[in-house]
Amino acid sequence: MEKLQRVRPTVYPVEKVIIPDATSFSLNNGVKVYEIEAGTEDIMRLEFVFKAGQVNEHLPLLSSSCNMMLSEGSQNFTSEELNRTLDYYGVFMNQSAEKDYASVVFFFLSKHIEKVLELSREVLFRPVFPESELNSLMKKRIRWFLINREKVQNLAIDQFYESIFGNKHSYGYQIKEQDFNNINTVHLSDFHANNYTPGNMAIIISGKINEKTNMLLDQYIGNISPGVPLKNNHTVSLEPGSLKKVHINKNGTVQTAIRIGSATINKRSQDYPALKVFNCILGGYFGSRLMKNIREEKGYTYGIHSSLSSLDKSGYKIISTEVGSRNTNMAVEEIYKEIKILQEQPVEKGEMTIIRNYMSGEMVRMFDGPFALAESFRSIWEFGLDNSYYYRLADKIRTIEPDEIMEIGRKYYKLDELFEITAGSE
């Protein structure tokens, strides 16, 4: 075959991302609404987010159980009627309870906004928590739990949270089988009354928003009493475990799960954008140091990643992988080696350019379309931040120099502070 003239195309710098600001206003009862108009299709994403995560619970599983039980029957609908009606209107509903927040998100065709608001009012503010449904849910959850505990990645991540945050704090404690027997409907009603109030909530709405939306929001949600503001009585402190290395033995597995990391700063810190860059070089994309070494060089794993997560009262960094069990020690050693190299040797120019452009491209993707915009908005709103956080991040991606990357690595990835959790056969 004749050789073709294949001149590499010009590389154009990724343009600075322009982030549409959310419009905010308050309903009659004071609930904050954030609206992001975006997209071409007549669809909407409507999120109700409450400060009702695990940090607000006094019993393990309470926040997640309350969140799941919201759709198990309300004053005017049984769970079956509710689910059937949502499906009939083509509505997708996602419920979730995380460490700090709990939320219910609806995805739907804009023309069904009124129906969705009517149903969401039932789900959020009028649940009745029937005892029989709670019993069924808990029996199912035990089965899910037992199956999940068969997976080395779950064994490792549960231990990881306990190790870095302590077994007293809700960020850290591990769920046990008997915890599923300790939740009753009174706990749920109390938790709901205290936490699922308009005063403890915000609404994030994105997509094709029509002129009737705001009026309907007030009509369905704006007249619900805001409730008594909740004083945060959470007093347990974060106490990392004393053992830096923990192995959980699980016989007969062919792969071992590895989780390495520790508690760290969150988005509110000035250093966070630089730490994001460090993390990305280390293990945040397909071309990362860890991926190149441990997957593409050595073939120890199908994948290895490092990530940063922000929490209200903390944050953490974590390196995650599953490797053939016989390669566990070598993989762990290589992980530490890659961290050390990034702390000691300046990243070369070529790799700096790749990381700047790749991360700039990622930022474009983070704000592409109504769903991505809403998620990106929520993840700064939680921390009381605005889009200036993203502009700072974008600037840092463009201007960070190799010296600062090494410095950030030395400051936040102190090797003797990292926890090393493994789960698998010996």
Partner: protein, 414 residues
Amino acid sequence: MIRYKKFSLDNGLRVLVHEDKSTPLVAMNILYDVGSRDEDPTTTGLAHLFEHLMFGGSINIPDFDEPLQLVGGENNAFTNNDITNYYLTVPSANIETAFWLESDRMLELDFSPRNLNTQQNVVIEEFNQRYLNQPYGDAILKLRPLSYKVHPYRWPTIGMDIDHIKNVDIDRVKRFFFSHYAPNNAILTLTGNIDFDLARNLSEKWFGPIERRAIQSRELPPEPLQTEARKLILERDVPSDALYKVWHIGSRESTDFYTLDLITDLLAGGESGRLHIRLVRERKMFSEINAYMTADIDPGLMIVQGRLMKGIDINEADKAVEEVINSLLNNENIKQEMEKVKNKFESSTVFSNTSILNKAASLSFFELLGNPDLINNEVDSFRNVTHKMMADAVRKYLVPSNCSTLSYISTRKE
């Protein structure tokens, strides 16, 4: 309505373009008409292994990912029984880099033995991670040869024996490339912020000079009709029993496809699906249950799978599943339920088509099926399913003689 334009290059490459100026990105999807069904029974898993090799450098470019990351792009790929599909997104100013990269690896790979060796290890770890190190992970590996005796769908995409992957050599890899990877065996789709004229010019410039290749002909043995129920019992150290039932269905292009799709939605489309309502909520026999179709091009499978609650007899659970399926033949409530799943299908299609990547993948696949208009017509086909069509399909396909049942039994004493 998704508007697209279509043309072919002289070398046989088909190109589809859909402009969407609401995004700053462009998606590029290249579908190769090769999947695990095209493998030799002695070298299964090769199509998927090959997908990994496609990232290890091409004739003029030592690494695929780096130049793409350098222009702010992101990419991935998947392989299934029928196709190998590569996709990426990139800020629109840098779309030419994507053409340069994708056309170079269509032109020729660099076939480095070192890369082959690494990717063999990576794929073995992928196999371990997905199938061996997960509870119930091997069920699907056992289901395929239970339901298919002849057709290549009898092995999974990862391969029927991991030794096939271990033993592949570089000559085999080369032969595979030149008999499947070619402009005349591929479909290129561009969606997002790109003008049709630019897409056309860049396609000509970068893919135009690649010559046609002789594609290995596809003569797949049809699966003989199954005439009696098949059963398999597996005993494993898992917390709960699990039940898997699979039925042969028609091909992707058969008129029954949307009817069966609707049936799986009636059975298991969300929390209000019949299997969930009857067997999880009411009778409390399963902790979770699901139904889906494999959506293969050749006649595929409908699968129902569920995990049992403690103390439930698996034969009772099996009977209960059949009862729920047969309940679709009653007229009670069915009209409204059909309307419900049709509405849900419509809205999920709208959601799916908000993503330029989804649109690009769908257009490519529908072009392979010979009808890219399906991207706009599928909702109507789904809406047109009548109660009679639904009941006929239940009677035709979802019968015991066409079914294979896998009972996955927990050996654990609780």
